[in-house]
């Protein structure tokens, strides 16, 4: 059952070939037996999942099932889940039982998707390898000596190992796309504002965006239909009519204009990755697309600009974790200052503290203009680059990550090297555009991700472009050895 896509599972449920309870039991069993070596789940909510599955089956029996009713899924541990521990990968929230549901969680509940559990992640979504998690690193199911990428590494690994048909992710600088690439699955980061941020623990508010992670583009479209939509509780949620993201899956690619940013194919790109991407481009040509080069001249500055904007926002967003109302509180604080500094000093891990300090510095008196304001200006230049490119092409295509999954511990000593693993994904967040990563072959046995970037609100086309490729390839069907 686990080799099936969500679209197939949905059909099987509809035909009565299986029940949601059976499906849920199957995936819970897989988590129990197979996750030990991966560490992709932080919390497994078996009891709740089975109760939800039972309710989903009843609902189906009453003829009230939606497209995904009964299909189990997993939530990244960044989404608040009412009554369920929500740790955000941090010691700071290790004891935090959220008293409310995130909008995304509510929406999956309303659709009737049993939640198998909460997936592991980099602490507060800050990381590109899932090694900053308080719960320990997640291992890549293709090679457990390697990282799954981050920050949605638990979600990516769990989907790749088929421990869950899908999982949610969040993407601030590539946190859906990069782990999707490194784990050989499909992930969509929608246009900023598509998916409500209510209940999604904030890292960098102007960049954070939730999205689906699953085996295929079609699955991501089905999940996006559930996840996205206007939410009055989020001031930045976009007020637009609900859209069917599966609408353009079968649109032929003839005359589609694909742009290849020359900046994404230069120095620093791993040869094996480059080869796989070239082959994918060839495939798109065969599908009838017109491929041309475009320029994103300022994209090289996206990582530096991001590492000012994101830390600045995070330094403020994470100020609420002070040991007063919830979360970790140090023992026997001798005074107020001690309560603050030790609760935060002990509750946050090294990378989170580094980013808080970088952000604090960038916003402080005397440095604001040189760092924060400068980064905002670069951000404008980057967004303008994309706007110009989209005058010429419909979709931008390139590698998701410069390399395949790297070894655990390989980059932990040097933050800047780690940051550069998001070099192709970050510009998309700064501009607020939709982007996705789809499996595009292997290099030395490790998955390679192909990135597709669309114009604002153009997810349906983007998903169609991905789906057409997946109709003629089977990379997305590959399951790592030991998890088949």
């Amino acid at each position: 059952m686990h080799e099936k896509t969500i679209a197939e599972l949905s059909a099987a449920l509809a035909k009565g070939e299986c029940s949601s309870v059976e499906l849920t039991q199957h995936f819970l069993k897989r988590i129990e037996t197979l996750d030990g070596g991966l560490n992709s789940f932080v919390t497994v909510t078996a009891e709740q999942a089975l109760a939800q599955a039972k309710a989903a089956d009843d609902r189906r029996a009453r003829g009230e099932a939606g497209p995904l009713t009964g299909v189990p899924m997993a939530q990244k541990d960044i989404f608040c889940t009412d009554g369920v521990r929500t740790t955000c990968g941090s010691k700071m929230l290790d004891n935090f039982i959220a008293p409310y549901d995130a909008t995304v969680v509510e929406r999956f509940k309303a659709e009737g998707c049993p939640m198998l559990g909460k997936t592991n992640m980099d602490e507060f979504a800050m990381g590109s390898s899932n090694e900053t998690s308080f719960h320990g690193p997640v291992k890549n199911p293709w090679d457990t000596a390697r990282v799954p990428g981050g920050s949605s590494g638990g979600s990516a690994a769990a989907v790749a190992a088929r421990l869950t048909p899908s999982a949610t992710g969040t993407d601030t600088g590539g946190s859906i796309r990069q782990p999707a690439a490194l784990c050989g699955i499909t992930g969509l980061k929608p246009t900023y504002g598509r998916v409500s941020r209510w209940g999604m623990i904030a890292f960098a508010s102007s960049l954070d965006q939730g999205g689906p992670m699953a085996a295929t583009a079609e699955d991501c479209a089905l999940l996006a239909n559930v996840m996205s939509g206007f939410d009055p509780r989020d001031s930045t949620s976009i007020e637009r009519p609900e859209e069917d993201f599966t609408a353009r899956l079968n649109e032929p690619l003839k005359d589609l204009r694909i742009g290849l940013p020359r900046e994404f194919f230069g120095e620093g790109l791993d040869a094996g990755v480059a080869k796989a991407i070239e082959e994918a481009i060839e495939q798109y040509r065969k599908l009838g697309a017109e491929v041309k080069e475009v320029g994103l001249p300022n994209s090289g500055l996206s990582v530096p600009a991001y590492y000012v904007v994101a830390p600045a926002e995070c330094s403020s967003n994470l100020a609420r974790f002070d040991g007063v109302r919830y979360g970790y509180r140090c023992e026997n604080p001798k005074d107020l200052m001690d309560l603050y500094t030790r609760s935060r000093g002990e509750g946050f891990g090294a990378e989170v503290k580094r980013r808080i300090m970088v952000g604090t510095y960038a916003l402080s008196a005397g440095y604001f203009d040189a760092y924060y304001l400068k980064a905002q200006k670069i951000r404008r230049l980057i967004a303008d680059d994309f706007a110009r490119a989209f005058e010429e092409v419909d979709v931008i295509l390139g590698p998701t990550s410069p390399s395949t999954a790297f070894k655990l511990g390989e980059k932990t000593d040097d933050p800047v090297t780690m940051y550069l693993s998001d070099i192709y994904t970050i510009a998309v967040n700064l501009a607020g555009l939709p982007g996705m990563s789809i499996p595009a072959g292997f290099s030395d046995g490790l998955p390679v991700g192909l990135q597709l970037i669309g114009n604002y609100f153009d997810e349906a086309r983007l998903l169609g472009v991905a789906h057409q490729y997946q109709s003629v390839t089977d990379w997305h069907r590959r399951i790592p050895e030991g998890f088949a």
Partner: protein
Amino acid sequence: MEWETVIGLEVHAQLATKSKIFSGASTAYGAAPNTQACAIDLGLPGVLPVLNREAVRMAVKFGLAIGAEISPRSVFARKNYFYPDLPKGYQISQYELPVVGLGKLEIELEDGETKTIGITRAHLEEDAGKSLHEDFHGMSGIDLNRAGTPLLEIVSEPDMRSAKEAVAYLKKLHALVRYLEICDGNMQEGSFRCDANVSVRRKGTEKFGTRAEIKNINSFRFVERAINYEVERQIDILEGGGAVVQETRLYDPDKGETRSMRSKEEANDYRYFPDPDLLPLEIDAGFIEGVRGTLPELPDEKKHRFMTHYGLSAYDAGVLTASREMGDYYEAVVKACGGHAKLAANWVMGELSAALNKDNKEITESPVSAAALGQMLERIEDNTISGKIAKDVFEAMWNGEGSADQVIEKKGLKQITDTGAIEAIIDKVMADNPGQLEQYRSGKDKLFGFFVGQVMKATGGKANPGQVNDLLKKKLQ
């Protein structure tokens, strides 16, 4: 050495919305601790702010009332600092682009002159919670009910030159926000709070002296005292050859002095930046015109109308328009008494105000309604009672003994206007006082008053004084 005082005020007015500025929690005062602090107010992980339209309307209303420019586009920024009553570790405020720009307010000075005080800006922000310092085993308790209550911070120019001017400005501003019904003005509950920036400089110099910011002045009386204390303190320092330190000081009303605030000693670096959870606030002409349509008659307009329409003096009109409620009450009295505007003004400012003062009541709490007072005044005008008797009637009404007519009836206070009856009393008085009568008739005119008094005394004050005069004059000849 002559010193000049320079004062600027920062007023925080809690806006009278039902719900908080960024959440749907109630703003009602006095609830049990933390029962009105919702997930957003507590800064739980993952929560987001959504701005209350009413708070924006109220800010715009204020801006229009002070003739200020309303920013078509303003920005909410985060002011970052750690404090237990600040749940998110930042306060959502406005920094570079406030919603209300430069405006002004005219104040009246004691000598009757007016002075214009500039208002630099007014911006929207959220209030913080409260730290309660009662001893919980050496701990402080935090109540976040107030956190997220909308505030309009109104910043004046350093245009005031004495504590009295500062008080006049503050009172005027207080009346204005209540006229506009955007703030209940309750200073005890902290709905209207004031910080004062105070400095002194040698008379004739241009440059401002180093200022101290005084916090926690929550009554008009304290504002005056705190500023006067601070001015003296600074002059003492300067005359002693010292230098004033720029700092935040707390006013201690018990000791009547200001002291340095330890918690604010550290130089703050608030790291303001645009709140990424909130896009710019845009206010279009339609919104502004909509608000303009709801503007009530403002104090200065009302005062002018009272002078021209009711023929009141500037002073009387000023007193009667000091609050919207006072003006409304007065106008209701005039209406009820058949338009005797001056009589109504005398009574509202005289007996009524005295009674309110004595019982420490607001005009809205007056036991004698405007209609009831008006009716009583009508009884003076139609000669049912004299002005003197009216005072007794009013007192009875104040004590809940009924309407003017009921009191007059019950106590038999109706004026005696029957000429025959009065004449009979006059005859008796003349018969009882032959000596005085003789003296009067031999030229001692002053005794006329004695006879009036005797007649009034004999009627229990109820005889119509005009009639008594006329009849006495005739009889005594």
